[in-house]
Amino acid sequence: MVAVTIITGLCLISVYISYVAFRKGFTKTADDYFVAGSSLGYFVLIFSLLASFLSAFSMFGMSSFGYRLGFGSLYVLTANLVPLGFLWYFMHKKTFLLGRARKWMTMGAPFGERYGTPMRIVLVLVVLVASIPYVVAQIQGIGVMLEAMSEGIISFHMGLFFVPFFIALYLMMGGMKGAAWVNAIQGVFFSIMVFVLFFFVMMKNGGFVPTMEMVMAKHPNLFQIGWAGGKVWSYPMIFGMAAAMCLGCVCFPQPFMHAYSSRSARGLKAMFLSFGGICLVVITLPTLVGIAGNVIVPGLKGVAADKIYGLVAAATMPDWLAAFAVAGGFTAAMSTVNGLVFGNAANLSVDIIKTLRPETRSSELITIARVFVALIMALCVFIAWNPNTPVAELSIIAFGTVAVTFFALWGAYYWKRATATGAILSTLVGVALNVTFFLVGGKAWVLFPQRALLNMNGFLAAFIISGIVFFVGSYLTTPGKTEEKSLSLFFHPVLTK
């Protein structure tokens, strides 16, 4: 019950912080509610962006991945994210500058101004479809861990309602500012707890090197690439997963929302740079904890391995400290649900409702966004009811799907010849291919290299084809009035630096 008490306490603190943002009047206008009035300083930005991406996947999922698949897992979410420092900067520098000049509030805005309303709506729907598996993964992770930590007092299904209820509550109240404050505090908390857990797990067997030598003696394949006859962690598998996760990060709503919320250029750069650096350390640790888990709690398979984070904590730490360590993982999951659900609710209300009904007032938009928060959360709880795919795999599928919008975004900012037809076609073809691969071959086709796809995984094949469609589609069509008109703003000479 200690764990449940701590987790409930953290949920209540989060709700209280959001309530303070609400009381201080940070949610009065749409600009305040959706982008915090572009007022966030860089400490809050760094930890809020970090927390909005680091999730049940990074804590529970990566330890599960490390436990099942070994050191190759480090290519999924550690050094492969360091390139985001420059990728985000190049892709979102214009998001920041144009967003401030044009008072953008959602990720659909640049697509709408550059390619027109149809692309804006397509994008919002694609991002929503891609976000759902990721949010489901978080909620599923929360349910699994809550059941394990409460020793069955709170069942998996009850756990699905428990934390999402609090998240919906504080999102609806505090808007972007409340969410960013909560994210920042949760980000600091789980970063500290990961270090504490790592220390205890490694000290259980005399330190990091002796622990890894024990694991290697029992499971040498976990230290190799290309094991299981070259199937697990082959070069194509590593490249496909590493690229999917990194490029997916560029295209999710969080970097857009945080770029709009940034007070300064320095804060923007610090936020983008820090993310990869912090991931390099903070996500490596739970992965190593998972690998070490093979000699502490052996024999877990499939979805059951998602519990390894909590189980090694319980096996190596005093009860109260283990509860704090797992609560760290919970806060990571909460902040990601928070970031994604908020981003999507903002997209739906501003990019779709406001576009279709321009006379919608600011206060009505806020109410509509709050309703969308509740609806998205309810849908994800419903889908998570019967879990049959582990958290890590669900998350990679989500990142792979959203990454197909990469070309449309790049074209919007850096290619004058890009057309709306090219952007829409490439996005739809990319998503359709991801969905088809999943329906035809299940998660194996999306995640693992297939001979039929020239030894690429489904994500990489869909991504490359989507790029080809974008270039060919743009060359074969003529830029319309919207694209022509947008050039003076999107390619203004002052944006070249």
């Binding site: 050094a79 360091v82 090197v209 190799q224 630096k497």
Partner: protein, 95 residues
């Protein structure tokens, strides 16, 4: 080619090469048995080091060169962009 363009190109090449290394153990990892460095397979250790090097280079690019965006530039950029936006609106209204 101007000095800034040259510098940009050098950074871009560095970013791309190191990104490939961060995304794939090509050139520093091979299938099968492997030696350990500090308890980790050698390729995992090298990958983390490459990640750290890329991080430092990004830091230099963003904060210690004149190639990136700085707060001092913001006012001028915003004024120019707002002028463009106003011109667009005026033309639209006249039409």
């Amino acid at each position: 080619m101007t000095s800034n363009k040259k510098k940009n190109l050098i950074f871009l090449i560095l970013f791309l090469v190191l990104t490939v290394f961060c995304w794939c153990p090509i050139g520093y990892g091979s299938y099968g048995k492997v030696g350990l460095i500090m308890g980790m397979p050698s390729w995992a250790f090298y990958m983390l080091v490459i990640g750290a090097v890329l991080f430092v280079i990004e830091w230099v690019y963003l904060f210690y060169t004149d190639l990136a965006l700085y707060d001092e530039d913001l006012e001028e950029i915003m004024m120019a962009l707002e002028k463009t936006t106003t011109t667009q609106v005026t033309i639209k209204e006249e039409n």
